[in-house]
Amino acid sequence: MNLVRAILRRPWADPLSIRVALCAVLVAVAGLPAAAAAETPSPAEAAPAAPERLKLLGVELDVGFPDGAALSVVYRPWYFLRLNAGPAYDLAAFGVQGGATLIPFHFPITPTLTGEAAYFAGGNVNKQLARWNVSAPSAVQPLLNDVGYSYLSSQLGLEFGGPEVFVFYIRFGLAWIFPNASGTATTTSGTATVTVNGIQGRFAAPTGNVGFVVYIW
């Protein structure tokens, strides 16, 4: 008791200082077991599970208008951005297409915004129409023997599925299509013979796609 009285008589030994000192001691004592445990970690705690790495690469398959069927390699640098590029086939010719999709939520259902561009080499549209028992007016047919096009599109869509490995999507939007018919059409108009050498154009049209993405690596 003499020692306690001696301490309490010291100038720094006011009640506030004592309470602070006691708190520090309690915190230190409480931390001792944790510190001891940290010095001898259990095997499970030694290698805590790291968050699973986002798969960067995948493949995408989709069908729609105006790109027909397209197979793409997919690269996803961040969860909210997916880039794709690959070949496409529109029933008349092969082409190449590519695009970017913004995916705001890493969630099983999420809206998306997609921009795409594509180029299709010239193809014979008359042959494709014949498959459906349809034929263009005879004067126009020579123009349709070699029709190519390119387009730009923007689409809003919805994606469903597990964004880690597989998503299914449906999209709708607008496409700006730039057709190029390189044939020569000849028709008669009254006594005149009219010849048209190639047509290029630009028009907007609705666009839609359904497809899926599988993330592989």
Binding site: A192, N197, I199
Partner: protein, 178 residues
């Protein structure tokens, strides 16, 4: 459900600004040729001969819609004949004017005559340029051309000829006005 006029106008404006409400198509060259457009030029004329020919385009799609506008520029004229021994070798200058529409539109045709005035040419091609003549054909689907041939040695016998004309064309479609 009530649709806001402001929203409607805004959407239409957005669609128009992004090119969704219009389309355009163009061709590098469209040519029309007509037989016997010069039905008979009498002999004995001096200096020049003029004739008017009508390019009948009635077989083409009707262009007379308010939502259609376009550009039609003359590229060249072609004249051919088989009635004259020297063909059209005697032609030294060609002038052409588009008739009709609101006003006659003069074309600038630059024809380079052969150095030999006795050269035999079954046909001649005359490059021409000039203003947009789309409106001249929009309402009638035909093009009236006045062609004047100048020479110091016009044919001494009657003759006929075929006429052809080539243009570059661009058609713009405004969906909101169709």
């Amino acid at each position: 459900m009530k649709i806001s006029p402001t929203l409607t106008l805004g959407l239409l404006g957005l669609l128009a600004a992004t090119g969704c409400l219009n389309a355009d198509f163009k061709t590098a060259q469209i040519c029309a040729t007509m037989p016997d457009q010069i039905p008979g030029v009498p002999a004995g004329l001096t200096d020049s001969v003029s004739f008017t020919t009508n390019l009948d385009l009635s077989g083409l799609p009707n262009l007379n819609h308010s939502g259609l506008s376009g550009t039609l520029l003359m590229q060249q004229l072609q004249l051919s004949t088989s009635d004259l021994p020297q063909g059209l070798g005697w032609v030294q200058a060609v002038d052409a004017t588009v008739l009709g529409g609101n006003e006659d539109l003069a074309l600038t045709c630059t024809y380079t005559a052969p150095a030999d005035p006795l050269a035999s040419l079954d046909s001649i091609v005359v490059p021409c340029s000039g203003p947009n003549i789309f409106q001249s054909i929009q309402t009638s689907n035909q093009l009236s051309l006045k062609i004047t041939l100048t020479s110091t040695s016009l044919p001494t016998s009657g003759w006929t000829a075929d006429v052809g004309a080539c243009f570059s064309a661009e058609i713009m479609v405004d969906y909101t006005k169709l």
